[in-house]
């Protein structure tokens, strides 16, 4: 691990009791939903992580606890460092506190999480779907959401499928 990053990871460990992993030179720090906002604030104010590069989630379905990892990819321009924070969440009613107070970019990113994974950002100023239309059922990027296909039309089921097609009929 990078020397500069090591002190930061240690500081997180002391303050928030986090654990960390390393893979191909990237450091992943595991935090909890309770202390993630404090951790982000500390990183932004004290260690110059000005930019929340990416914010997304991974679904580990069928595993239920934890089912999701919410991922915060942070960048520091002043120190040229990157750090990834992960928050494991359980499968039933996953919730995270909103990070819009720390990084405004989290506004749209959290709406995307709500839309795609059904992870509720608590205290979000504008909790609406962002990409899918209002009234969509389900959350498309969950692993148990089926990837839809159109049924191929053969001679034996031609008319049956034709009836369901949206174009105008004679």
């Amino acid at each position: 691990m990078d020397k500069k990053l090591e002190t930061i990871v240690q500081a997180l460990q002391e303050n928030f009791n986090t654990t960390n992993e390393e893979f191909r030179g990237e450091v992943h720090v595991f935090a909890t939903a309770e202390n993630i906002i404090d951790a982000l604030t500390l990183l932004r104010d004290k260690y110059d992580f000005e930019l929340l590069s990416a914010m997304t989630a991974t679904d580990y379905w069928p595993q239920q606890s934890p089912r999701f990892h919410v991922i915060y990819q942070l960048s520091s321009l002043a120190r040229n460092l990157t750090l990834q924070l992960r928050v494991p969440l359980n499968g039933d009613e996953p919730k995270i506190p909103t990070a819009t107070g720390v990084y405004k970019v989290a506004n749209w990113r959290e709406r995307e999480l709500l839309d795609m994974f059904g992870i509720t950002p608590e205290g979000h100023p504008d909790p609406r779907r962002i990409l899918m239309p209002e009234g969509t059922e389900g959350h498309p990027l969950r692993r148990d959401f089926p990837l839809g296909y159109e049924e191929p039309q053969f001679t034996f089921n031609f008319e049956e499928i034709d009836l369901g097609k949206p174009y105008a009929k004679e």
Binding site: F23, A54, Q73, L77, V105, P125, D126, E134, E137, P140
Partner: protein, 409 residues
């Protein structure tokens, strides 16, 4: 079919000011079908006369579910979708994806392939900026710039076609190297472009940079300061136009960018004109990189010889049983990647293009997330349009350089 739900107005009340509810200000829909929204973006405007009180972008009209689709494909096959994300920067998307895959499975790329990748992505950057400049001119009623820019872009597309057989969706950069080596005509074609293009940039500048009508529309319009830009995750030329010197090619060099000499244009003004002039300067810098890369283009293979990840060349399949087995395995089952995640980012023409890739130990990724620069760059719109006129919104929107395929994914 999903049932249509009744949506109550109360859900959207918090988006507009109280004056809109009493009818004092007007709500106006701009888009999704509007020539200056560069695709299918809908902007809800709250107007006080001609002045913008609130600007609420509404995205998702071009949502294609590429992230979900990539999870259902093997690592090699999923790459084809990456071209379709940001259709102005296809080789750049391929590069971002391939770098992530190479990092995940720990694969080395030969030097020749690295140089060719740099040449192609820099040419693509010029092509993307040309389309941007064309549309920017068109939005500000400078019609002829549009025609000139597309004329030059055609040359770059011809070079891409020469290499890959495809003008736009090339999928030429593959995990472990390239699809195949460039043809012999490649060097001459690129050299011709290098000698031809600088004069053309001078021409665009002669048309625009000192044109008083053009300047009146741009200077001190849509001001964005550095702190706000970083808060909203703005990257790329937009961030550099706000005075922050941050370019991933310099800060975290990939593909051997540390060996090329080029400047990163930075302007502190943060207005629409700064965003324009930075992109023009970047075209000149990209040309410098292309020239240097072409001058020291090393000879050698263009693909890693690690057959567990890179399919063998056609010539080997006829004579080697092992090659045939590898070919068959890689194109049916695919290779397996470790149960871990990587994040790798490149500097696209619009900013930090990041790929978050998580494997599950098998041949298909568990999660592919595209951190697309336009998405975050657009989210700052509400801040920078406040108090400007509707006509200025068109200039600001054009200067953000949005690509809807990049935003909606």
């Amino acid at each position: 079919m999903a049932q249509l739900e009744e949506v109550s107005v109360d859900q959207f009340k918090h988006l507009v000011s109280e004056r809109a509810l009493t009818g004092e200000t007007m709500l106006l829909n701009m888009g999704p079908q509007h020539p200056s929204t560069h695709g299918v973006l809908r902007v809800l405007l709250e107007l006080d006369g001609e002045t913008i009180v609130n600007c609420i972008p509404d995205i998702g009209y071009l949502h294609t579910g590429i992230e979900k689709n990539m999870e259902a494909k093997t690592y090699l096959k999923a790459e084809v979708m990456s071209d379709r994300l940001d259709y102005m920067n296809t080789t750049g998307n391929n590069l971002a994806y391939c770098l992530a895959v190479e990092k995940l499975v720990d694969l080395d790329v030969p030097e020749r392939a690295q140089s060719i990748r740099v040449i192609l992505t820099e040419l693509q950057r010029i092509a993307s900026h040309l389309v941007w400049l064309a549309a920017f001119g068109l939005d500000l009623a400078a019609m002829s710039v549009f025609l000139y820019c597309f004329r030059e872009r055609e040359i770059i597309l011809d070079i891409l076609e020469l290499c890959s057989g495809q003008r736009m969706m090339t999928t030429y950069i593959r995990p472990g190297g390239l699809w195949r080596d460039v043809p012999v005509e490649f060097e001459t074609a690129v050299r011709n472009f290098i000698s031809y293009f600088p004069k053309r940039i001078d021409e665009y500048e002669a048309l625009l940079t000192k044109n008083p009508i053009f300047l009146d529309r741009l200077i001190s319009i849509g001001k964005l300061d550095a702190a706000t830009a970083l808060q909203y995750g703005v990257t790329g030329p937009m961030l550099r136009a706000s005075g922050v010197n941050w370019d991933l090619r310099k800060a975290r060099p990939y593909m051997g960018y540390e060996q090329y000499e080029f400047n990163v244009p930075v302007h502190p003004e943060g207005d629409t004109f700064a965003r324009y002039i930075i992109r023009v300067e970047e075209m000149r810098e990209s040309l410098k990189i292309v020239e240097q890369a072409l001058n020291k283009l090393p000879l050698g293979p263009v693909n890693s010889d690690n057959r567990k990840f890179v399919p063998p060349p056609r010539s080997e399949i006829g004579v080697s049983m092992e090659a045939l087995i590898h070919h068959f395995k890689l194109w049916t089952e695919g290779f397996s990647a470790p149960n871990a995640s990587v994040y790798s980012a490149v500097e696209s023409p619009r900013g930090e293009l990041g790929v978050f890739l998580e494997g599950d130990g098998g041949p298909k990724p568990r999660r592919v997330h595209w951190r697309t620069p336009s998405f975050d760059n657009l989210s700052v719109m509400a801040e920078i349009t406040k108090g400007h006129l509707v006509a200025d919104l068109v200039a600001i929107l054009a200067s953000v350089d949005i690509v809807l395929g990049d935003i909606d994914r």
